[in-house]
Structure formats: structure tokens, C-alpha cells
């Protein structure tokens, strides 16, 4: 299919891609077809810059907000580049629902649900959750967060962590872990330290890249995801999309852990700023926005 994807700034720095030709097959989304278009691309240009202009060791722009919702015990929103994730935390509370009879006597039960908005991807998803991929993600999330939460402080209770991917552009899992950590902080759940996740890849067979975007993911380099406790330098979860050469893995892992430390710094700063601000009135309604006035 003759398909060209035009990356274009639309409004304030938002990328918008547009497929020029659409076949007559029904049910074909008018979304991006970046993967097909970019197979020929190189992950790293001759100038040593990545597809989106970053340097190999440069993270995407991270913006976050702690305390998005008022009803949840804790909530947070994070943007890592164009990947946008919302996380909420309920608890610790009495176990309820199906977990009612499964609670643990000496520690808290951590319950995670990973879900993706149906409009979060280029091609519309049919179901927001319940498929195998999101089940797996839910489990991985729980595994990483259990390492950080001081579950022994909350026996016979349950902590619910729900993450919702609003926009997916690579590194979904990482953004989810980071958002969940912020939400846990907001909920006041006791943590050993922040659980931070970051991904890394390898370009041209030698140069490690940090914080992989969707474009780079689909270009097909090997991909390493690490969830770590960066202060103590412990790895909570590590996953590889495909095999790495023995010689390459250490440096890719090092780059990913480096990324984790960087993200940790950003998150920590955000938390400190948030705590400073919570003393004042919440920022609601301060910015001039289109209010619906009756």
C-alpha cells in the first residue's frame, strides 16, 4: 500500500499523523501507519540524533500532576512525551469484592488493573481491558509495585491501583509504573522508595537508547524494560522484548537504570513541589479556561 505518514505539529506541539491513502477494505481506521512507513528508517542518524531529535541518553519530556481527582485516595497523571497515563489509588481499605476472602494476615493485598482507553492507540482498540496483553500488564504492574510498597504495614487490607492509558506512544508500562508511584505517594501509602520504570533499546547494534518511543519500538530494535528502586539500585522487574547479545545487555541495562534515576529525580521534584502547594488552595479554576456558565 502506498502510504505516507506526515508528522506535523498541530496546535501546540502535538503530533498528528495522517494516512494519505485508504484502501476500500471496510473497518480500516484512518489512523497512522507509522510502522509500515518507518521500516527503512535508521534509529540513529549520522549526526547521532534519534528519530524524534533526541540524543541517545535523553529522556522524553516528562510532565506530571499529583492529585488529579478528589474522590480517590490518591491520583496522578503523567505525560512522557506523547504517552499519557492516569493512575488512581484506593486504599488501604478493608478487602472487598472478590478479594474479600483472599486477604493476607501479615501484609496488604495489592490489586492492579491496567486498562487502555479505546482511542488511545492509532487503530481503535475493541476492548479497553480484559485481553491477554492487559492482564499481563496488570500482573507486571503489581509485581513492580509490590516491591516498593511496605505491604507489611497494612495487614488484612487491600490497596487498589488502577491505571488508565489515555494515549499510547511507547513505554506504556514505564509511564504506568511512574504514574502509579506518584498516586501511591498522593494516597500516603508507605513506600520503601519510589518504583520507577524506564525502557532502553539498542541502535545500530552498539549505542543504547533510553526511553523508547512507539516509533522506535515498532522499528524493531530489541527493547528492555526495567522497573527499579533507583536509590538502592535494586531491580524489581526486568523484561526484554527479544534477545540481546551478552556484551550489549550490561550497557543497555545501565542506560535504563540511568534513565530510572533521571526519572526519579523528576518525580521527586514534582512530589516536593506538590507538597509545597497543597498547603495553599488547590489550583482548580485558577487558569482562565472556558468555563460553562449557566
Amino acid at each position: 500500500m502506498d502510504c505516507h505518514a506526515a508528522m506535523r505539529g498541530r496546535g501546540g506541539g502535538f503530533s498528528y499523523s495522517h494516512a494519505a491513502v485508504i484502501g476500500s477494505r471496510c473497518g480500516q481506521p484512518v489512523g497512522c501507519r507509522r510502522a509500515a512507513a518507518s521500516t527503512a528508517m535508521e534509529l540513529l542518524s549520522d549526526q547521532g540524533l534519534r528519530l524524534d531529535g533526541r540524543r541517545p541518553d535523553e529522556l522524553r519530556n516528562i510532565r506530571c500532576k499529583i492529585g488529579v481527582f478528589s474522590q480517590a485516595d490518591g491520583s496522578a497523571y503523567i505525560e512522557q512525551g506523547n504517552t499519557k497515563v492516569l493512575a488512581t489509588v484506593y486504599g488501604p481499605h478493608q478487602p472487598r469484592g472478590q478479594a474479600k476472602n483472599k486477604f493476607l494476615f501479615d501484609e496488604a493485598l495489592v490489586n492492579c488493573q491496567y486498562s487502555m482507553a479505546v482511542f488511545s492507540t492509532g487503530e481503535r482498540k475493541r476492548r479497553p481491558r480484559g485481553d491477554r496483553k492487559s492482564q499481563e500488564m496488570s500482573i507486571h504492574l503489581r509485581q513492580a509495585l509490590e516491591a516498593a510498597i511496605r505491604t507489611e504495614l497494612y495487614p488484612r487490607s487491600q490497596i487498589d491501583i488502577y491505571v488508565e492509558v489515555l494515549q499510547a506512544d511507547g513505554g506504556n508500562y514505564c509511564a504506568c509504573v511512574n504514574a502509579a508511584t506518584l498516586a501511591l505517594v498522593d494516597a500516603g501509602v508507605g513506600l520503601r522508595e519510589y518504583a520507577v520504570a524506564c525502557s532502553a533499546s539498542l541502535a545500530n547494534g552498539e549505542i543504547p537508547l533510553v526511553d523508547v518511543s512507539h516509533l522506535e519500538e515498532s522499528t524493531g530494535g530489541p527493547n528492555l524494560t526495567v522497573a527499579a528502586l533507583p536509590i538502592s539500585g535494586q531491580v524489581a522487574l526486568m523484561e526484554m522484548s527479544q534477545r540481546f547479545h551478552c556484551d550489549h545487555l550490561p550497557k543497555v541495562l545501565e542506560r535504563a537504570l540511568e534513565g530510572c534515576k533521571d526519572i526519579h529525580r523528576i518525580l521527586d521534584e514534582a512530589v516536593r513541589k506538590h507538597v509545597e502547594e497543597t498547603g495553599r488552595a488547590s489550583g482548580w479554576g485558577q487558569v482562565d479556561r472556558a468555563g460553562i456558565v449557566l
Binding site: R8, S24, S70, A72, Y77, S115, V287
Partner: protein, 293 residues
């Protein structure tokens, strides 16, 4: 929504407040809570909007796809509503917990869009009997602080207003297959006509009184609610009772009158808000905060 537990005394307090037309948060019976609207915040969608009505938070994305028209309606496009009650709103929605509510909302929306007078599906037709646009209106409920129906409908109308449908440049018939050439310019789009798209107005009966825009606590005190789909010019496109409980015919007729008035005001307010937001987006470098604010 999340675990509202009220004692009898608290319920009576709310009831008395409604009786004297002064609700807990200082509103009168027909006042809405503050609302905020932001357009175009989901880049993967053709149109999107987020509406926050006090604690109720709704995000809507509209995506377009090419589909084959229904054989019984060959000259009409399709529109499909999908509601996802995110567990972010309340742990009760985890897994399949929110499905009943989601079906209720999406069914009500499709009923109120059913009439050709509310939304012109014919404009979505590309080639009679062969190709048409299908709009997927995906609604994500992120927080429920009462009055879901109204907030959802506002967000849906705003997202449809924001939707850009790519223009079809050429069509080539190749046997039974059709090749569509869409315009390569992402700005070469057309907008949907949302003039007659209704807004939903929920009237909640507390005691003998009908109030609009109930909070979660107020919903908890009420036995019966009425949902109306009201258009800009005060026509009712759909009407249904939700929740348990029943109405006296007199209350119902009064509800129709009040609901229509409120609906007209709501549509007008939304229109103004949309214009304002549109203007903001057209500015040179509009600030996009989404959930960061």
C-alpha cells in the same frame, strides 16, 4: 459514587435544603455546578473533548472509520457509542463492574441520536450502498461525582463539534471494490453539524421537588430520576426514567417543562463555551494542559 454512605439524618438535611431551594453547596434547584471544557486533547482521535463537571470527569474521543452502510439504510453512515466506566472512578467498576451502567448510558445516547432530526447520518455517506463513515464515539468515565448523563452528553456534543472528518478526494471503482483517495492534507477536513445534537438533562426527584445536576450525595437520597435529551430549540429527542421509583403524572409534566427550559440554557451555555474554547485553540500557541492543571 465512590462509597457514598448517608445516614437518615443527612438525607433529611439534604431534603430540607432542597425544599427551601438552597442545596448543600449553596445552589438553587436549577443551578449547575461549575463546568470546564477542553477540546482536542487526544491526538490519536479525530475529535476529542474533556468535560469536568465539579467532580465528574469525562473524556470523549471520536474516531472515524470507513465502513459499509446497512442494507436497509444505504444512504446513511453509522455512529456507535461505547462507554467505558474506568475503575479510576470507583473500585466498583473494576473488571466488568461498570458494564451495566455503561450499556445504559450508551443505549440512551444512541436512542437520543436515533432521529434524523438530531444528527444527520446522511452526511456521513460517501457512496450510497457501498461506503460510509462510521463514527466511534468512545466515552471514558474517569470520575463520577453525580450527574453522569449530563456530563457525558456535553462531552459527546463537544467532541463531535471538534471532530475532523477527512475529505474524500477521489473515488475509483474497480469491479466491486472502491478505492478511496483521502486528502493528504491533515487540515483538509470537514466538520460535523451538531446544531441539533441534544444535551441530556437529568432531573432528580428529592421529596416532591425536581432538581438538576445532582451531586453523588443527592443522587443517593433520590428514588427516581428522569433523563431528557433536549435540543437547542427545546425539542425532546428522548426521554426515560432511570433508577427505581416512580412519578406522579403531574410531577412528570412539570419535569418536562423544567427540563426543556434547562436544556435550552445548557445547549446555549455549551455553544458559548465551545466558541470560546475554539478561539483559544486558534491562538498562536494555545496552552494545552489536559490533566496537568
Amino acid at each position: 459514587m465512590a462509597g457514598v454512605l448517608l445516614s437518615e439524618a443527612e438525607k433529611t438535611f439534604i431534603l430540607h435544603g432542597v425544599q427551601s431551594d438552597l442545596r448543600n453547596d449553596g445552589r438553587s434547584k436549577q443551578d449547575y455546578r461549575p463546568m470546564e471544557l477542553e477540546l482536542d486533547i487526544v491526538t490519536h482521535a479525530n475529535g476529542s473533548a474533556r468535560v469536568r463537571l465539579a467532580n465528574t470527569d469525562i473524556l470523549v474521543g471520536v474516531k472515524t472509520e470507513i465502513d459499509v452502510p446497512k442494507p436497509e439504510k444505504p444512504d446513511e453512515g453509522k455512529i456507535e457509542f461505547f462507554v467505558d466506566c474506568s475503575a479510576n472512578a470507583t473500585p466498583e467498576f473494576e473488571g466488568k463492574g461498570g458494564e451495566d451502567l455503561a450499556t445504559e448510558i450508551s443505549n440512551f445516547l444512541s436512542t437520543s441520536f436515533n432521529s434524523g432530526l438530531s444528527f444527520d447520518l446522511k452526511s456521513l455517506c460517501i457512496l450510497k450502498e457501498i461506503q460510509c463513515w462510521k463514527l466511534y464515539v468512545d466515552i471514558l468515565i474517569l470520575e463520577c461525582g453525580g450527574n453522569l448523563f449530563d456530563a457525558v452528553s456535553l462531552a459527546v456534543k463537544a467532541a463531535l463539534h471538534n471532530t475532523m472528518v477527512p475529505r474524500v478526494e477521489t473515488m475509483a471503482m474497480d469491479g466491486g471494490n472502491v478505492d478511496l483517495q483521502l486528502s493528504g492534507d491533515p487540515y483538509d477536513c470537514w466538520r460535523l453539524d451538531i446544531k441539533n445534537v441534544p444535551c441530556l438533562v437529568t432531573l432528580t426527584k428529592i421529596g416532591e421537588h425536581l432538581i438538576v445536576d445532582p451531586t453523588a450525595e443527592e443522587e443517593n437520597c433520590s428514588m427516581a430520576s428522569l433523563v431528557l435529551a433536549v435540543t437547542e430549540d427545546g425539542r425532546i429527542n428522548s426521554l426515560s426514567k432511570t433508577s427505581v421509583g416512580s412519578f406522579h403524572p403531574h410531577t412528570l409534566t412539570e419535569g418536562l417543562k423544567v427540563g426543556t427550559e434547562v436544556g435550552i440554557r445548557l445547549n446555549k451555555a455549551l455553544k458559548e463555551a465551545l466558541e470560546k474554547e475554539e478561539k483559544r485553540l486558534q491562538a498562536d500557541k494555545p496552552e494545552r494542559s489536559g490533566f496537568l492543571k
